[in-house]
Amino acid sequence: MLSLSPDEWTAIALSVRVATVATLFSLPLGIAVAWLLARKNFPGKALLNAVIYLPLVLPPVVTGYLLLIAFGRRGIFGEWLASVGIVLSFRWTGAALACAVMSFPLLVGAIRLSIEAVDRKLEDAASTLGANRAWTVFTVTLPLALPGIIAGAVLAFARALGEFGATITFVSNIPGETQTISAAIYTLTQVPGGDAQALKLVAIAVVIALLALILSEWFGRRAGARVHGV
């Protein structure tokens, strides 16, 4: 059986907690933004789209540094947030923010595609039956987009689980607070004789990622059957 030190168990638990919180908090915003991009035309749409995809193309260390500037203790938002009791820098909550930002493009991309695939004629039908815009979204568009929403959430979760560059830049690598699996592996590879322990964590990272993908496949298929089933 795997013999892991308490620090390593902490890193695993922390990774799962960070990725879960990042996914759950970014999901509502991700759905809203995906809907806007899929269904609305407005000035600045191209810019919004570009900004959302930025973390995908920027070096993660740049995203992390920008987060530090914005949300660090003396950052533009960080100072204000600290005054209301929310500190993000060098905390696990900051790691969750970094993961949310890094996985947001994947989340929005998958959900946007699934919303675009919903037949607008069904939305028209809903409006002739008395559903206003909001009800149409909640009773027709989103239920039909559910498989894509699940896929997007799992993809974002998996991405958050593996996030390294932005996280370590923004919140550092503090055991028990911000040291996720990736950061723990990185630390182990930096010390002599740490390879064996690193490999164990690598195996665990692979297992968690595989489980997430299998679950998403299963949920996606179930949701797909519910949505288009007979």
Partner: protein
């Protein structure tokens, strides 16, 4: 009483239509591409005319002169689409109940029973739309529109996607619907036999314009 007088430019095609319809079935008859579907979509509020006026039972639903444009979801106009458009993620029962739910009407079991019996769909309520035949799907779509208690029904080639045998199976339901509900209906079609069986009045459309209107005998010419 429905009164329509609308203009809309769609690319290089212009729909410019004016007619009135009383209770009973008024057919909008014409070849494909004559603007029939555009007209009903504007009546339903799914598409906005460039100019004109639409009134149903004395209530103005659209008037470009005064800026009135009642949104589709507040028009209470039943719409049966050529392709049914049942919600695939909801059971037949939930599809049928959708309009009542959205409009906040109280549950009316007697009417639900009446409509499902009228259309012979009571046995289908537990199924999903994906498990229905084309004819069943259209009957459910018809029931769904009826159950929101509309003041006007728009039937946009509701039988066009069915083969001849299914058409002859479903036509009697439309006749029953006409005779039992007394709802005013606008029936879009390019099939003269269908129109003769159902309509009392015909508006002939071609190239986006009304070329003639009158009784069904117009179709014999």
């Amino acid at each position: 009483m429905i009164s329509i007088e609308i203009d809309k430019k769609l690319g290089d095609f212009t729909v410019s239509v004016s007619f009135e319809a009383d209770s009973g079935v008024t057919a909008l008859f014409g070849p494909s591409g004559s603007g029939k579907t555009s007209v009903v979509a504007m009546i339903a509020g799914l598409s906005k005319p460039d100019r004109g006026r639409i009134a149903v039972d004395g209530e103005t639903l659209f008037d470009s002169a005064t800026g009135i444009d009642v949104p589709a979801h507040r028009r209470r106009i039943g719409y049966v689409f050529q392709d049914g458009r049942l919600f695939p993620h909801l059971s037949v029962a939930r599809n049928l109940d959708y309009g009542r739910w959205m409009t906040g009407l109280p549950r009316d079991e007697a009417q639900f029973r009446h409509v499902t019996e009228l259309l012979d769909i009571a046995a289908l309520v537990k199924r999903r739309p994906g498990a229905l035949s084309g004819g069943e799907r259209q009957r459910v779509a018809l029931g769904r529109a009826l159950l929101m208690k509309p003041r006007l029904m728009l039937l946009d080639e509701p039988m066009a996607s069915l083969d001849a045998r299914r058409k002859s199976e479903i036509l009697p339901y439309f006749v029953r619907l006409r005779d039992e509900t007394k709802l005013p209906m606008i029936y879009v079609s390019h099939d003269a036999a269908e129109v003769k069986a159902l309509a009392s009045r015909v508006v002939l459309l071609d190239g986006g314009r009304v070329v003639n209107s009158g009784g069904v005998e117009l179709l014999n010419q």
